[in-house]
């Protein structure tokens, strides 16, 4: 083995799954375009994107339920592009759960277990173990129609995990549930995934879900992956205007960039590095990155503004600021302490700072 060490990939953590150049169309609709992605062993990756962007299609292609038109899928270095779904060793939780209504919970969970290998008693024990794992012990004799949505979701999870799959695929597993159940189940799924260490891909259109659950997020738009990164990377350094806008709240202002500076109205702001695009740009900054406290004449990118409205939202104040000379308003989230210490009020003129390291620029059609 050692003799071939030089040929093995240098990474110590091998990719569990690799998809490369996946393309898929339905008639005239391009559902996926040149999608490439790698998933590490034991990792939880979220596909995040608006409805219709191709998340489900990508998941189904990976699962082998939808044949891809182009591209390659590898598991542990082995090409599985044309392996039928049943041979891929992937567990799937469908958006509708697809629980078999005429089978009891126990029969649903044991559906993918081989009676020949485990025996009747072995199956019963395994089912009980799985139900206990998802926190549903003792309901094996009930039918899916007799369960709540959250319980059905966990039965579907237990059924998918029963054959101990190498990869767990979840298609919007929480979207059909109400907000409170969703929050609780989110934590359960995360804990379970950590405990079992099962490599997981989860589809969601809910950015909060993706940010809290994922080890890495793949943000998708129009059948393409726009960015792959940790939740913090995605939030802090979105690579495109779409990602910036889709994840979290973002101010988008029309501006013009020249080397190291960006001009908005009559004002020039300093940038952190000068490799940013030049010419017409969208200037982006998150509302919570707008600074009001301790802004002086020497502070970088200090901008005088007028507070148009100041709205209390609970954890913070949401202020709409008007730059003098700027047409677009600027949204800023100000802490309650800032507002009370500085005695801010609507109609007031203040100076805020737009820290250079928080500004993001994206090219704009002039």
């Amino acid at each position: 083995m050692l003799r071939f060490a030089g040929l093995v990939m240098p990474s110590s953590k091998p990719f569990y799954l690799r998809v490369a150049g996946i393309g898929k169309r339905f008639g005239d609709t391009v559902a996926l375009k040149d999608v490439s992605l790698s998933v590490n062993q034991g990792e939880l990756v979220c596909f995040l994107g608006p409805s219709g962007c191709g998340k489900t299609t990508l998941l189904r292609v990976i699962a082998g339920l939808e044949p891809q038109d182009a591209g390659r899928i590898e598991r542990g270095g082995r090409d599985i592009s044309f392996l039928p779904a049943a041979r891929r060793d992937f567990g799937i939780v469908f958006q509708s759960y697809a629980l078999f209504p005429n089978l009891t919970v126990a029969d649903n969970v044991s559906y993918g277990l081989s009676r020949r290998r485990l025996g009747r008693a072995g199956i019963a024990a395994k089912v009980e173990e799985l139900l206990e794992m998802v926190g549903l012990s003792g309901i094996g004799e009930r039918y899916p129609a007799q369960l709540s949505g959250g319980q059905q979701q966990r039965v579907a999870l237990a059924r998918a995990l029963a054959p101990a799959p190498g990869l767990l695929l979840l298609d919007e597993p929480l979207s059909a549930l109400d907000a409170r159940v969703r929050g609780r189940l989110r934590q359960q799924i995360k804990a379970l995934q950590r405990r079992l260490g099962v490599t997981t891909i989860m589809v969601t259109h809910d950015q909060e879900e993706a940010l809290t659950l994922a080890d890495r997020i793949a943000v998708m738009n129009h059948g393409m992956i726009e960015q792959v990164g940790t939740p913090l990377e995605i939030y802090r350094r979105p690579v495109s205007r779409f990602v910036a806008d889709f994840v979290g709240v973002m101010n988008v202002l029309d501006a013009t960039a020249t080397g190291g500076m960006v001009h908005i109205g009559t004002r020039a702001l300093r940038l952190l590095d000068d490799i940013a695009p030049t010419g017409p740009v969208h200037l982006c900054i998150r509302p919570e990155d707008v600074v009001v406290r301790g802004v002086g004449a020497a502070t970088a990118n200090a901008v005088p503004v007028r507070i148009e409205t100041l709205e209390f939202t609970g954890p913070f104040f949401r202020a709409i600021l008007r730059l003098d000379g700027g047409e677009a308003p600027l949204v800023a989230d100000l802490s309650i302490n800032d507002v009370s210490d500085l005695a801010l009020a609507a109609g007031q003129a203040v100076t805020v700072a737009l820290p250079p390291d928080r500004l993001r620029l994206y090219p704009r059609e002039a």
Partner: protein, 563 residues
């Protein structure tokens, strides 16, 4: 997992996909052989001379220049149009009463309205002869007109077509949105205005659909005019006469092609109409709930009760005539008319043949139809095969029974066809009957399958379970009500059908409905009525069993069907 251990599993999974492909191919080929090829054989025979040479449309020209032919065409159109107008108007009012009023006894009235489904179309003819014929008890109502002829045919066709119209119209009328009515009422619209602006447009597609279906049934029906048509020539009788009487197959093929025309047109139009109806009721619609209204409910009840009484009169007349010595002169109870073995037509053997044929049709037909619908809807393999199944499954609806029967003669009686061993066997009766009623059965199965979660198959596959296991353990149990519906539909249709099988039976495989035809032909009208009633009793009993089975099933599956 090592590659060595994985190999056998892989082969078995490829095998599962191959089983599906082979099943799709087998069904597609079966439909090509039993639907497409016979029709092709028939249509091409119409373009050939007796010796088999291609003569183009010469047979058609010859047919149309035969004296008296124009009359049969006109007569058929007149009867079909009149039947359509009368049946659809009466059925609309009846269905309106069933769905939009608070009249009493709705269940009984609906059951009576659908009762004609249990009888062969020969039965109304026979009963009408008893009622309005030369010795008829209601002869005075005819004001000197003869029941043998257009009047008799019209009345018989209305009886025969009524259930089909009721089924379509009561579905259309019950698919109405309460919110529209509430809006109209709150805007102060008069009752007549609401009827004109809300009710009629809502049921428009149902009305059009019902007109097409009734027109097709009436123009292609053969049973009623056979018994009561007298001198009044119609196309359906013409086919029968040309083929059975004069053995002129070319001419038979020509008339068949003509009969195919209105049916195919109606079917095509109906297909597009149905397509547009889909969006009529949105998910957020509120089902219409009629409110009691004494005058309207009373009037509708009187009307529906009168119609139901007329239907019952027809059925009870046939039953009565079969149980008495000599209707209407000697009303002593007598079972002699049921002594079929002393009459021409096949005797009791014919009845048992019918039951046997209906059982085969119901079991094999349901299996084939449901599997075909499943594979064509849920598989993703062999797209061309699935498209073939889907397309050919829709054709039989447009093919009248007589035409199908004739097409089967041309195809299966051909000495060059290796399948001609089937000719004159029970098997060909079963096959032709399954094909004859394939479309409705297929659509019932497709509807049930479409209501299922489309991910069941994917879920099964992702758990490593073969498709046929998921089909057996999940799909069939969940669709069991539809499976039962299909089997009862096929059974009753097989018991009552005359038109296709009349060309295909052999003396040893005569059927009850054909015995009715032959005994009536021979003047044994009371035994014919008795045999027709045997069909009614049997289909009625099986319907009852079906109802009990459906109820039992509903009770047992209550736990998981929910709500």
């Amino acid at each position: 997992m090592s590659a060595v251990a994985a190999a056998p599993a892989r082969r078995s999974l490829d095998r599962d996909a191959w089983i599906a492909r082979v099943a799709i191919a087998a069904l597609a080929i079966a439909l090509i052989v039993t639907v497409a090829l016979p029709l092709y054989a028939m249509l091409s025979r119409g373009l050939e001379s007796k010796s088999g040479a291609f003569v183009g449309f010469a047979n058609y020209v010859a047919y149309f220049t035969t004296p008296g032919v124009g009359r049969a065409v006109v007569n058929s159109l007149v009867i079909a149009l009149a039947s359509t107008v009368v049946t659809v108007s009466v059925a609309f009012a009846f269905a309106y009463g069933l769905t939009r009023s608070h009249m009493p006894c709705k269940g009984v009235l609906k059951a009576v309205a659908l009762a004609p489904l249990l009888a062969p179309s020969l039965l109304p003819g026979i009963a009408l002869v008893y009622l309005f014929g030369k010795q008829g008890i209601l002869k005075s109502l005819m004001f000197g007109q003869d029941i043998y002829g257009p009047i008799g045919i019209l009345l018989g066709e209305v009886f025969y077509c009524f259930p089909a119209a009721i089924l379509i119209l009561s579905t259309a009328l019950s698919l109405s949105d309460q919110r529209l009515h509430d809006a109209a009422v709150s805007l102060g619209a008069s009752r007549w205005r609401i009827f004109r602006t809300v009710t009629l447009p809502g049921a428009r597609y149902g009305l059009i659909s019902a007109c097409f279906v009734v027109f097709t049934l009436a123009i292609t029906d053969f049973g009623v005019p056979k018994v009561i048509g007298g001198w009044y020539d119609v196309l359906a009788i013409d086919v029968y006469k040309q083929v059975v009487g004069q053995q002129d197959f070319q001419k038979g093929a020509v008339v068949s092609a003509l009969l195919l025309l209105p049916a195919a047109l109606a079917f095509t139009a109906d297909f597009f109409v149905r397509r547009r109806q889909v969006a009529l009721l949105s998910a957020r619609s509120v089902a219409f709930r009629p409110r009691p209204e004494r005058v309207r409910d009373g009037l509708l009840f009187i009307f529906c009760a009168a119609v139901a009484l007329a239907i019952l009169t027809v059925l009870l007349t046939a039953a009565g005539a079969s149980f008495v010595k000599f209707w209407p002169y000697n009303l002593d109870l007598w079972l002699g008319h049921y002594d079929f073995n002393n009459k021409d037509g096949g005797g009791w053997r014919a009845y048992y043949n019918s039951v046997e044929m209906a059982l085969w049709t119901a079991t094999c037909g349901t299996a084939v139809v449901f599997l075909g619908a499943y594979l064509s809807e849920k598989s993703n393999l062999f797209a061309a095969g699935r498209a073939t199944i889907r397309f050919l499954a829709m054709i039989p609806m447009a093919v009248p029974g007589l035409v199908l029967g004739l097409a089967y003669i041309f195809f299966f009686n051909d000495p060059a066809n290796p399948l001609n061993v089937l000719y004159r066997t029970m098997a060909i009766l079963v096959i032709s009957t399954i094909v004859h009623f394939y479309t409705v059965a297929h659509l019932t199965a497709v509807t049930a399958l479409k209501q299922m979660d489309p991910e069941f198959e994917a879920a099964g596959a992702s758990l490593g379970v073969p498709w046929y296991t998921t089909f057996r353990r999940v799909t069939v149990p969940v669709a069991m009500p539809a499976v039962l519906d299909i089997s009862i539909y096929l059974f009753v249709s097989a018991m009552t059908t005359v038109s296709a099988v009349v060309f295909l039976y052999a003396p040893s495989t005569a059927l009850a409905s054909i015995a009715v035809l032959n005994m009536d032909d021979a003047g044994d009208i009371a035994p014919a009525a008795a045999m027709a009633m045997m069909i009614v009793y049997t289909s009625g009993a099986v319907r009852l069993l079906h109802w009990l089975a459906t109820r039992g099933l509903a009770r047992r599956s209550q736990a998981w069907r929910g709500r």
